[in-house]
Amino acid sequence: MAGSGHSKIDSNSAWWLLLPALLVLAFVGVLPLLTIFNYSFFDIFTLEDRYWVGTEWYREILASERFLHSLGRSLLFSAIVLSIQIPLGVYIALLLPREGRVKTAILMVLALPLMVPWNTVPSMWVSFMDEQSGFGGQAVSLLGFDFDYKFNAVHTWILLVAMDTWHWIGLVVILCYSGLSTISPAYYQAAAIDGASRLQVFRYVELPKMSGVLMMAVLLRFMDSFMIYTEAFRVNAGGPNHATSFLSLDLGEEIAAFDYGPAAARSIIYFVIILTVAWAFKTIMNIRQGESRRVGA
């Protein structure tokens, strides 16, 4: 953050180096967003045959009870996922030895679930939790639990959270670990000489070095859990009784039904929610960083 700042050269021609990346992003990101923003104000029968409806779709969606319920469920899911995966990921990264083969082997194992196609992650878990033939399902029934993810909403939620944690914990660990490995041993020695407790070392040495990657982990995990689609759909198709119909499932339905206008308005609403939350995260992080810097100095 600091340090390298003053050695940078002032030059606006640096924009030329950014241009290729920005052009690609404009084509695959900005252009579609503008298109969808435009569509959201129309009733679309075919792409040529459409009527201006103003903000009708927005008012309709925002006032509907179904939207509010889905929003609540998605926010709850993200909150649970973040409050488990972020502390757990940080904890595992701290547990890992700094050097050696054990560390490399464990990181490789943790990266493995990240490589599984998203639409087979739920199949793997449904087979795994099968009462008759799955290891997980057999173990659970041996322990005397009556695990029924098809009809018991709480069990569906537990399965989704466990599955999501299995799938993504590796990403959080890898990011945190990479932040930790930038800390030179001298910092730890200095802290030991000062008689710092383990908690103080974490708070004043390790956490500041992790803040950037941690921010990225939080944002990535927030966005992907908030917009969870394939995993939730394949496990229980939004059931039982809509207990796991999240925001993206509603949007998927509208797109499948060719309701382009409402789907576009819904997309814009989701995009704005995500941006707002991301911006809030970033602001909070910046304020806290500012505080800890003042305390540290």
């Binding site: 547990l95 087979t120 998927g252």
Partner: protein, 272 residues
């Protein structure tokens, strides 16, 4: 006293290893299940008893042009995506690492915005746009659209690695008459090779497994592995075949993980 302390620390080490073993078990068990199922005939068939060990699933993959072709499609689009992403991200990351320019503070915010735009939000217009320019049903379309989340990631990672290279290197090279492209290829890239590897790993990871864009862009042809698997789901899903396909799809991923294993989490920080 000394002895008690060493017992305590040994106990602590033991605890750490117990926890890490439990973690590895938790991660690997579903994979063991997958491995077992992929070598099991999970549907009733002539000549093979159901739930019997069998290599029928792998024979089916080889026999089906859709399934075996999808592996080629996946490899094509992911390779293309990684190449395009790195080509545009390296200069961009260099610009951010080395120069101060008007608006540089906002570039990161802009990148965050692109990275967290949910794919499901973009599906509809991307399909309409790509249909107009003939990018539907080809791996090229998927490769391009995946840039929207991979370019920001690649820039973040590469910027961190480039910042770690002392600036004297650039200055000496330019004094020696190197042009910018030649400096990149000859001097900078060899130094940040681990960073390029890590960036490629992340791009591969997010692109290989993606399903939302891949589905909307491959209606009739060019289906990657994920979408070939989707066609297997039905009234009576052959779960053994699905798992065999998953196992096959993991092989390139394993290769990539092995390739970057020593750098996978080696010292990059992300500036926010």
């Amino acid at each position: 006293m000394v002895r008690a302390r060493s017992t305590a620390s040994r106990l602590k080490t033991l605890m750490v290893y117990v926890l890490l073993t439990a973690l590895v078990g938790f991660v690997l068990l579903p994979f063991v299940q997958m491995l077992v199922l992929s070598f099991t005939s999970t549907l009733p068939r002539d000549g093979i008893a159901q739930w019997q060990f069998s290599t029928i699933n792998f024979q089916s993959i080889i026999a089906s042009p859709l399934l075996s072709g999808s592996i080629v499609n996946s490899i094509i689009y992911v390779s293309l995506n990684v190449i395009v992403t790195l080509l545009v991200a390296i200069p961009a990351a260099y610009a951010i690492a080395r120069y101060r320019f008007t608006g540089d503070k906002h570039v990161f915010l802009l990148l965050i915005a692109f990275r967290i735009t949910p794919p499901v939000v973009l599906t509809l217009p991307v399909f309409i746009l790509f249909a107009k320019v003939g990018l539907v049903n080809t791996p090229v379309g998927i490769a391009l659209v995946h840039c929207v989340f991979n370019i920001p990631i690649a820039i973040w990672i590469l910027e961190s690695f480039i910042s770690a290279v002392p600036r004297e290197l650039d200055e000496t090279a330019f004094l020696d008459g190197y042009s910018l492209p030649r400096f990149f290829v000859r001097q900078l890239l060899p130094l940040i090779a681990p960073g390029v590897g890590v960036a490629a790993f992340f791009c591969f990871m997010f692109s290989w497994v993606e399903v939302v864009f891949a589905r909307i862009l491959t209606v009739t042809g060019g289906k990657p592995i994920t979408m070939a698997i989707n066609t297997l789901y039905g009234f009576r899903t052959d779960i053994g075949l699905v798992m065999a396909m998953t196992l096959v799809s993991l092989i390139p991923g394993l290769a990539v993980i092995y390739f970057v294993r020593n750098h996978i989490a080696k010292g990059f920080i992300v500036r926010t």
